[in-house]
Amino acid sequence: MIDNIIIDGMSFALPLFVMAIGGIYSERSGITNLALEGLQGFGAFTGALVAYCLMRSMGAGSSVPYWMALIFAMIGGAVYSLLHVTLCIKFKANQVISGVVINILAVALTTFMTKTINKKVFGAPSDKFDLGVSARITIPGLSKIPVIGAFFKSVYPFEFVIIIIAIIAWYFLYKTTFGLRLRACGDNPHAVDAAGGDVAKIRALAVCVSGALSGLAGICFAYSISAKFSGDIYMGYGYLAIAGYIFGNWNLLPSLAACLIFGFARSGGYQLVQALGMPSAYSDLVMILPYVLTLFLLIFLSKNNQAPKALGETYDKSKR
């Protein structure tokens, strides 16, 4: 049972974490990003579409569709995030409104396109792209260690991808000139401008990173929890990721801890329902655990947290 809690918990927590990393990039650069939910959905849609097309030509056995799905989900998320970039930077829209608008549009666009493509292209009316569940890997040796071994058992391949990306993201954010300038943008964009950095460009790039990473998270959910792409992808995980990095105080490692708590709360609840042999309706109740936990954690942590200083402010060179 503990094994299952760890296995399921990790496979939920890591996509959440990678999405939170994207949010941290965006918000540390000074752009409020409530659009994560829509970005992950749109990314999942593009990834799933590509995989679905490839699966039809290559057969279900090939792993190519899977990897292409991951790549195209990132591309799709990044492209769709350009909308947030345009609204927030070019059109100086209210960033909260922009984020919500993008989420609403994502739901509308992806469900409309899924239905239309299924009907027009594949000739089979349906509101989803079936993907199946990703294959799992068990690392021999390591997985035999008691308790901790579960971290190496039945691991989805995307979890390794996420861990690698997280390390790269950490390195870029905290160690490189790009990261230094990005984080400066979120505190005092005028300083970056005066130092010769291009605030708009840095922020645009940061939002695109959040788009790509959210897209990746979206396709991971599609390949694990739902085994398909459909409107069900919009489960509010984007907002959970936001809550995650708010606890993490906009830093990577503490955010990982928060995401792990969400993951284990969720998988622990499921295991409990199963162990007690309760009917399936009760799993609905378990579904609320991460959300309730989020609210409670926010109650205890929100007050002391320090958001990036320039977060949410439209940067206008001429205003000082």
Binding site: R183, D187, N188, H190, A191, D193, A194, G196
Partner: protein, 512 residues
């Protein structure tokens, strides 16, 4: 023979919606001199220099650097031309160390495992230490900006330029935030820099500083260049007249004070700011009717927090505030207002006004809920209009559309007139003025000073908090000097000299 100029701005014009910030201005700066730009607020000094630093582009005219015509499109291009600028509002990242701030944009890099480039903060720290020693600019590169004081931050800004090997250094109102002693040391640094071969352009409206350090001085008025003079042998009064275009009254006319009963009594006041940091540490004083009590001090020593605590915007952690016999320490803002406090806050944009409201709604901000403005929760638009019209007329608030002018679109001077009018109309026994003349031109300043004295003569108690020592010396009947959250000496204004106040402000001299 043409002289050898390092900077030439020829016939430069810059327009913003509604105003011409620079109108056909030509200035020529020699290498190795301290060139001052003198003018009132809004005369166009900062705009002119912002163009030289690439933050704006001129609409007309040319900029020549070292005898070559340049189009300076960005600050980074200006940096490549070895031009640096210390802005009036520092451009520093508060959660970064001093070194990180200095290297931002020109980061030294190293490669880990010969492959992964990373920012080499160690080398940066060392280089900054040696630079700071060379020019006598003492800083610790590993300290975080939010933990250091204003003058250190200014030194960081100067080091930023030097780190980028700037040859032409622009200072925009560098002394506005400093104590007299800090000003002296800054001016010394500026001289050192010139003697080290740098060219300096100093933007200021303080005549004394120009007298002390500048070689030549260009005078701007309403966007136009009035004159360029050698500073040596020039008279400050003459400079002042050129600057404002008329005879200036340097002193405020004021009758001797007649103190009445005690209006404000502060006992051992302690206040913590939002970060739970004690900023006011046991302050006691009292103000009588007919008295102007001024708190002098360098920015950030707790003086605005005292004002906010009296007005109820910041909670008091201990101590007592008694206004006109009523203990208001634990009262709501509304109750305090009614107990007799008028408050002209430091920040008119984010505290004193609702910028998106129109003028009449702002003028009624303190009394909208009372009759005749509201009856049983329902507003009476007519009362708002009548009251607005009355105040606009009485306090000479200039606005495009009268009552319905959106306050955001008004000039700073007129916004301040509206606030002062509104607060004076409260007819409260105590009026608090915090930085009432900041950013205003001399005409407006004179007007406000007159109003403050009038309030006193009407028998009000006035608490004046200002960073401008001249303002305090001209107006105050009693002065208290604040340093590090504590009032040092409190004494009648006549017992202080300006430099003495300065020493208390610095914490050099302590209360005996």
């Amino acid at each position: 023979m043409t002289e050898d100029y390092i900077i030439e701005m020829r016939n430069v014009t810059k327009r913003f919606p509604g105003i011409v910030a620079n109108d056909d201005v030509t200035i020529k700066v020699r290498k190795g001199e301290i060139y001052a730009l003198l003018g009132e607020n809004g005369a166009g000094k900062s705009t002119l220099m912002s163009m030289l630093f690439g933050m704006y582009e001129p609409d007309e005219g040319e900029i020549w650097v070292r005898g070559k015509k340049e189009e300076i499109k960005s600050p980074s291009y200006a940096t490549r031309l070895n031009i640096g600028m210390v802005h009036q509002h520092f451009k520093l990242v508060s959660n970064y160390t001093i070194a990180e701030n200095i290297i931002l944009g020109v980061e030294p890099k190293k490669k880990a495992f010969g492959l992964f480039p990373y920012v080499d903060i160690k080398t940066a720290n060392e280089k900054i230490r040696s630079l700071s020693e060379k020019y006598g600019l003492e800083v610790d590169p590993e300290k975080v900006i939010s933990d250091v004081n204003v003058s250190t931050r200014q030194r960081v800004e100067i080091l930023k330029m030097l780190y980028r090997e700037a040859e032409i250094l622009i200072f925009d109102e560098p002394t506005a935030v400093l104590t007299p002693q800090e000003i002296d040391s800054l001016l010394q640094i500026i001289k050192n820099l010139r003697d080290g071969g740098k060219t300096i352009i100093l933007i200021t409206h303080k005549l004394e500083e120009i007298k002390q350090v500048a070689d030549r001085c260009a005078i701007l008025r309403r966007g136009k260049l009035i004159d360029v003079r050698d500073v040596e042998g020039m008279d400050t009064r003459e400079m002042a007249n050129l600057m404002v275009g008329r005879q200036v009254q340097m002193k405020v006319e004021k009758k001797p004070a007649v103190f009445g009963k005690e209006i404000l009594n502060i006992k051992d006041l302690r206040v913590k700011n939002d970060d739970d940091f004690e900023v006011v540490k046991g302050v006691s004083f009292n103000i009588h009717a007919g008295e102007i009590f001024a708190i002098a001090g360098v920015s950030g020593n707790g003086q605005t927090d005292i004002a906010d605590a009296i007005a109820g915007l910041l909670p008091v952690s201990s101590g007592k505030i008694i206004v006109d016999g009523t203990d208001v320490t634990d009262m709501s803002v509304r109750k305090r207002t009614e107990a007799g406090i008028s408050y002209i806050p430091e920040d008119r944009h984010s505290v004193g006004l609702v910028l998106d409201f129109d003028l009449k709604d702002n003028l009624a901000l303190r009394r909208y809920y009372k009759e005749p403005f509201a009856k049983k929760g329902v507003l009476d638009p007519k009362s708002f209009e009548d009251y607005g019209t009355k105040l606009i007329d009485k306090y000479d608030v200039r606005c495009a559309r009268g009552n319905t002018t959106i306050v955001r679109s008004m000039s700073g001077g007129n916004q301040q007139k509206a606030i002062i009018g509104r607060e004076i109309e409260q007819d409260a026994p105590l009026t608090i003025f915090v930085q009432p003349t900041r950013g205003l031109d001399i005409g407006a300043i004179e007007n406000i000073h007159r109003q403050i004295v009038e309030e006193r003569d009407k028998g009000k108690a006035v608490l004046l908090i200002s960073l401008e020592l001249d303002e305090i010396m001209a107006l105050a009947d009693t002065i208290g000097v604040i340093y590090n959250g504590q009032l040092g000496k409190i004494a009648p204004a006549a017992e202080f000299t300006t430099s003495e106040v300065g020493e208390y402000m610095m914490g050099v001299k302590h209360h005996d």
